[in-house]
Symmetry: C2
Subunit: 218 residues, 2 copies
DNA sequence: TGACAAATTCTTGTATACAAAAAGTTGACT
DNA sequence: AGTCAACTTTTTGTATACAAGAATTTGTCA
């Protein structure tokens, strides 16, 4: 948006938080970080403000900036919200989707299937993202689309590890097919329900993971 | 969040934008505004960043900050998104709402009715807001709640003028009653549908207003 | 020895100074 | 006279300097 400096710093910091360099609760010392990036405190503070608005860091007055990773409850809530927002996008898309977009969805699905056959997880992930983003876009509502993309991005690091569940990729593919079918029929509620449960599975998987971890910890 | 200075400036600027002191497209000169608030450019810039993130101003690199009011299309999209998000909140709330919250909804409704009888528009508005916020909260999903509140706030200045439609307040009241009834029955889809159309009406009223304005302009 | 208080130090928040880029203006050349 | 270019001015982006508040440390007293 504004200058490329604060923006690129925000991106880099985001990356450093995602990859675990700055774990949850870390205090982000303005001086140390600004030195690390070779800039002064001013643009760094602007970057921190942005991260604060997107929820990645918490700014406590007169205390500083702290890395704020969502806890398990918050994550479940975000997964649930994602499922509901996708359902809404699907509902609207069913009424508005274009023929070309339907074709694109099928292309993405074919590429997904190819990735499944090739056991190519990265490629699967990319094509899967494309699939969902087309649906956001075809909701015909750019506000919703923006919200969906934002949340999708925020959940990215937590979703990635879940694709490892055995047989999940193949099942996911089948769900994609059904979703496209519902969209092409213009079946709003059907598309919404299918998308909701398709995405909600991720939250449930995560829930299972959490409880499993909790059980082993006792 | 951070210091009270930049925060209060952001709030005041928001107010100035809402009340039309700074119309759409106005360039917000950093020096003039900072002088107006009696602060330096630094905290003002932080305030502008926040407003940019919430979508009220657009920050163009090396050009400055410009007031960015949503156009008609964008507004319709936001109203639609609001309707859908409310529907989602209602769906979840139907499964999770507490008895005390149901009581609070009915209290808010009674106060609303009293405001209708007294022709007290301000009071109606306040109680109506309370009604909806209870539902957001009872979705049991604080992420969704936050998004709903944010959008609700953003649409506030555009919704206010619509309550003048004849008979709208009374009709709205009846819809509220039906919504509470659905929630108390735990009828998820019914609550969702009722909430969606209850809110969507606002968007439609706005749409009518727009087309009417357009027609007179020709 | 432990606890409380004062002082020092460190860090954040704000102001100002400086640099770079864009916009506006003036002048020269065709 | 019109257009293009260089220069001036204005404005944003960044750095640094300064002020105020929080945290820590040290010293004193019980």
């Amino acid at each position: 948006m504004k200058q490329r400096r604060a923006d690129s710093i925000a991106e880099q910091l985001e990356e450093l938080i995602f990859d675990g360099t700055f774990p949850d609760g870390t205090r982000l010392d303005e001086i140390r970080i600004s030195e690390r990036f070779g800039v002064s405190r001013t643009p760094l503070r602007e970057a921190l403000q942005r991260l604060a608005l997107s929820g990645l860091v918490e700014l406590i007055p007169r205390r500083g900036a702290f890395v704020r990773q969502p806890g398990p409850i918050e994550l479940l809530e975000m997964f649930e919200a994602m499922a509901e927002i996708e359902a809404v996008c699907g509902r609207l898309a069913a009424m508005r989707i274009t023929e070309t977009a339907l074709d694109e969805l099928q292309t993405a699905n074919r590429n997904c299937q190819a990735a499944v056959n090739a056991q190519d997880r990265d490629s699967y992930y990319t094509e899967n993202e494309r699939f969902h983003k087309i649906i956001y876009q075809q909701s015909g509502n750019s506000y919703l689309e923006e919200q969906a993309i934002k949340l999708h991005k925020r959940l990215k690091p937590f979703r990635r590890q879940q694709l490892r569940a055995r047989g999940r990729m193949a099942q996911s593919m089948a769900e994609h097919e059904a979703i496209v079918e519902a969209l092409s029929r213009g079946a709003a509620d059907d598309a919404a329900n299918r998308l909701r449960s398709h995405v909600a599975v991720q939250g449930e998987k995560f829930h299972n993971l959490m409880t499993a971890l909790k059980a082993t910890a006792e």
